[in-house]
Symmetry: D2
Subunit: 408 residues, 4 copies
């Protein structure tokens, strides 16, 4: 007789082993839509600054599902009723929450996939999969879109303390080596509870929540909004925008078929109800990076120059300030560039530009992190703190930047 | 020919290997005064709550010295001149900074070693060792007592970001398993610099400093001031106080010779210039714990009861509040106990008592953590933060507690 | 309404959180017999070489129970039927497997608690607890003593790949900082299975098992049988033996009551059916170490000298060889010592002695580690290896040592 | 005055911070030849099995350089004279040792870059860089090619215990999550020494070396030669071979310019003295993967089918045995496929094929790992072991495999 082994297991450098719970989830994971996430880097161009940051959305999705398994186990142990069907739906919802991410999402969404966000696309993929799987994803979709009556379940998928965030902060901290960004996912999850259909944290978890918020703030300013990554992302956005402009003017640029589709076709949300979604499902980091590599030889000086900057990591200079940067500074840099390179103003705008970034460490609103007092009362964590430090972190921080060529 | 190996190495679970730099330091480490630290737990009775917390002051002293080696390497790399003699003095000062700690220091200092703090005793030991080592510790003592002209060196030994604190926060976090308390000592040290004879942190380190302050705050409330540890420490203090009272009344209590000395002899700072220091050098956790174990059978009901509580971890109940607890509550508990046990008021005070604890996460004073801006200006980290969150943490937090027997 | 929280949780530096499953186990853990393990160091005097090694048998017992929970979860997932009663019994059996360990067990068993091993005492404690808990430990005792019909359960508690060993190897490696000794407990447990009532490892786990055996071998020679620890343990054994001799000759030695009992009373297995067990339950590291500290001032030169050696870490010299050391070497050292110190031969034997240590990395017998082939056949791991390396490790390694005073 | 900061630092998830020592090394690292390694995965297609394995040769090269810094520090501390020029040369040699690796090296070397190994290409790149840097790499090249008189230096770059191997084993273990493969690089390096111009390990390091060899063996069979990765690599090799055949027959396949060059041009070692090296410097993972993605739509059934298999991770079945697999099995599978798909025999060979893999855990030859005894004698580690287990591991293990379509 042959032994049985019902455990499907995947190695993960952070959590050790991730067990795949059940056949449906295994089949979803094997689907080419999901497998595409293996070719999409979680952190876009951050590897330019943090060479270790080559992990993918595939790993993140599995990690978030692993944390969801832990959270369900904790909640059930505390007497929160979660049926097996709800459990599966929660796991599917978190597994697929990012399935609509394209390569370098932020840059793409502001250039070639105009105005269509990844949440919209994730939902589109889930609906498509729901057809293929004969309606088995309906409850997961309801949770994902917050249509499901038990609201705390949506909060586990999307909220200020959801499994998505818990995994990506820990994972990004791990792979960048910025270990101060590490959060204790295990402890935070152990302190979760549900009260009046709201996901809450037990009172004694207040210091862990504080530390979570500060770690997140650190990751934003030190990693996600790192000056060098910011320049790279802005350049990538402009590269794609320029390529789309040229393509629509009839210039033929070397590109893979999927990228070619998005460069030459006008896109709207409707596009993704038909051919667009299929094309999108073929697009990944390899299309973008191989395009950059080919475009270092194209005729257009703007496109060629940006491609070289990105490939050889020889980026623009950036100044970042707490106050708006006087417009004369930008203007004078631009004039100098136009003069030197013979650029039009529109062309010079690709290399001299300003922008604003902002981050809110903690949001005091309907999505606040709620503490559950021992007496059963619920309170916003910012109000519960001994000191006003979390409340202080609920002010948005804004920074202004100006980019221009190093040689100017 | 036999191979030479000049590296004296000690294993450390946190840093891997700690190399002992030079013969003098090796000899100090081998001295019985320093070896005594092997028998003194770093965290007193915290193991009652965190069973992993059995590390010793010996390990902490070595760890702090290891970090000092790192810090000196970083500062020298940045052009700060530190002579070899200064390096050795810094290493000795940090190695010996805690050598005057007795077992369960806090409880002892408030009972049998009245009014004499561990800093005073550390200095007394250093002076004694300086005699034995023919003046080789003079510069180390000058740094320790802030007599040395280069003030930043004292700050490395004793300040808001000194090597002592960097090691103990990390080490205590590691051994308790409260991993959110972990700080990135390596990154913090890498960002140290010296400017105008002041130890500073480079500007880009601001988020790491923020996180350090929040981690420290978390360790205070979650670990160092944990309710159960607090009760245990208060009971231990009262146990020793009672034992000293009884001893001075002529009651003979079983005790090791060194503990017997401190129970029967009135102590002042002067005591430590003569016999007292030698007796103190024989006192460690084993004297205290073996006394507790023997005192569960003594005649005095107060002493016996406290000893049993500590040994069997069956402690008093504690209520902790943000506001002072009305005195009637204490009074009524005390009356009930006096009635039930036939205790005098003084005896009941051993079991029903109130107190105050406070913690300041960050101190904005002459000892502040100073950031060094890129333009060369220095600024208090609390003022440099984008948001006012660190400033918020510079308010002292006070909590009030009342302890009384569970059965009441 | 107040929220419920059914999770009883303990922090552990290695596994994060350990959850206590159920009231009975919680009560056993709170029992003073089990709490005593907080005062018994897991690694005896190894901290002399590895200053981090101050973890206790209390932590180890909880850790082994944690691994048992994992193993049961894995086996059940693979279809092995384990009832809830069996689960509780397995957890209790592993929790209490070491409850009979005294302080510095090996040294004690060869001196003052002559010939009574810790397994015997663990069983005696379990039986006593079984009375107190009205027979609820009966199945646990059956598993512990291998009376329970399902034999694989005993193997999980005591075998070449039991939860005891998995925890202590990992824990000792962690606390000593000898990270090569670390084993991947999680992976090994994930590969466990049961076949024909035998605990087996799935075939693909062969390399993990190999690495486990090699890591264990490394821990033996590098840590457990480290030369310095070996000398310290031999001296401790002789210290206790000498103290018992003197006590039985009527010499009054300072000692805590529990230690005094064992020094003055002849001990046999029968002793533990009555008063002996109660006395033993009061004995821990603090009795031994405080005795060492007091004995540095006793009149007997042998006892005093050994006590000083241990306290000041100024031990004997040791030579270790692969071949027996010629008896003349010992004899000449002994004569020199007798002459110099005026010792009798019997007294000199305390300081000049030889011995043998041996270790078997892997045992090919009825207790072998069994691999389960994909075809359902079982095979000894040593036979399954591609190369003969594991078989090579099933030869006993013997080393011979001679100890004598450094000054000779 | 602005503060200086001479430390150039890179974050690494494994070692924390990697400091770049000096300008020349910084410039080499910034060179586009070296930056290319950011786009070359260290483990080829292993991410198919281990989703975390997306680290690059860029990180590995920096990590190996970091270890070289450590090793030089250790050797100098033990009195081994290493001049500053030699130090720089060692660091450069290890930094550039893999610079000639192409994408998926093994598959490429057996297909489109016929017969030219990566060592040859690394040397070609070094020579080119030496021209650009006016001869500053000459000593590094001498060490790399073992022309430098001090032979131990070459052993540090290329030997059974070189910095390359120490980094990649640890790094691959870390990123795959196969933590049993982890080696204690720090301890191994601490035990290095040089004796009679030979790199040796101090005697007490024997168990660490044993464990290193076993960990390496585990990584080979569990990770590098994992069945699924093996199939993927064999398919990739055949994909490229087929693409080159078709290209040389005049079929036009979509491909990036650099890949197009290697598909259409006959290659020999001479190719790399001219245009070839420049083309090779443009080739990375993105060329290969974007080709696979485009080739799923080509006309040729063989190429198209392999591309789909690789992209959708729907690979061939593989049988692995300790003995050669009877040729009839292969023949019958091939006939079935030819019949079903109408393939010629040559075409069927792409899908039904056999092969041999072998691994030698430890090599007892001129490159053996040498232990240095305390008496100054040197001995092969396999001979020094107490047991014959390392000698047992110096036998080559051979396995035979057969691949064929799952549907057969």
């Amino acid at each position: 007789m042959k032994p049985k082994n019902k455990l499907k297991i995947i190695n993960d450098p952070i959590y050790g082993f991730i067990t795949l719970p059940g056949d449906l989830i295994f089949q979803l994971m094997e689907h080419r839509y999901f497998q595409r996430l293996r070719r999409i880097s979680q952190m876009g161009m951050s590897y330019i600054v943090y060479p270790g940051a080559h992990h993918t959305r595939f790993q993140h999705a599995l990690g978030a599902m692993f944390l969801m398994q832990k959270a369900i186990y904790v909640l059930r142990s505390k007497g929160v009723a979660i049926s097996d069907a709800e459990r599966e739906a929660l796991l599917i919802a978190i597994l697929l929450h990012d399935i609509g991410h394209g390569p370098f999402s932020h840059a793409m969404e502001h250039s070639i996939v105009e105005s269509v966000g990844h949440e919209y696309l994730s939902l589109a993929f889930m609906k498509k999969l729901n057809e293929e799987f004969h309606g088995k994803l309906t409850m997961a979709i309801d949770i994902f879109t917050n249509q499901y009556p038990r609201k705390f379940m949506h909060q586990m998928v999307s909220g200020q303390l959801d499994m998505d965030r818990l995994d990506y902060l820990r994972r990004d901290s791990f792979y960048t080596g910025v270990s101060e960004g590490a959060i204790n996912t295990e402890r935070l999850i152990t302190m979760l509870h549900v009260h009046e259909d709201t996901l809450v944290v037990e009172e004694k978890g207040i210091y862990s929540v504080e530390k979570f918020i500060v770690a997140r703030r650190l990751m934003y300013w030190q990693v996600y909004l790192h000056k060098t990554s910011l320049v790279a992302e802005q350049l990538l956005l402009r590269l794609l925008k320029r390529a789309k402009e040229l393509s629509q003017q009839g210039v033929s640029l070397p590109a893979t078929p999927a990228l070619h589709y998005f460069l030459t076709t006008p896109i709207s949300k409707d596009s993704f109800s038909s051919e667009g979604l299929e094309q999108f499902s073929k697009l990944d980091d390899y299309d973008i990076v191989s395009a950059i590599k080919m475009w270092i030889d194209v005729e257009d000086a703007v496109l060629r120059t940006i491609a070289k900057m990105l490939l050889h990591r020889d980026l623009l200079k950036i100044k970042m300030k707490k106050k708006p940067i006087p417009s004369e500074r930008k203007q004078s840099k631009k004039s100098a560039l136009m003069k030197r390179e013979g650029f039009t103003e529109a062309e010079a705008d690709y290399f001299v530009f300003e922008g604003v970034i902002s981050n809110l460490a903690y949001r005091m609103d309907h999505n606040a992190i709620i503490l559950l007092r021992k007496n059963g009362k619920m309170i916003d964590v910012a109000k519960a703190s001994d000191q006003l430090n979390i409340e202080a972190l609920s002010e948005t921080v804004i920074k202004y930047y100006l980019c221009y060529p190093k040689s100017l």
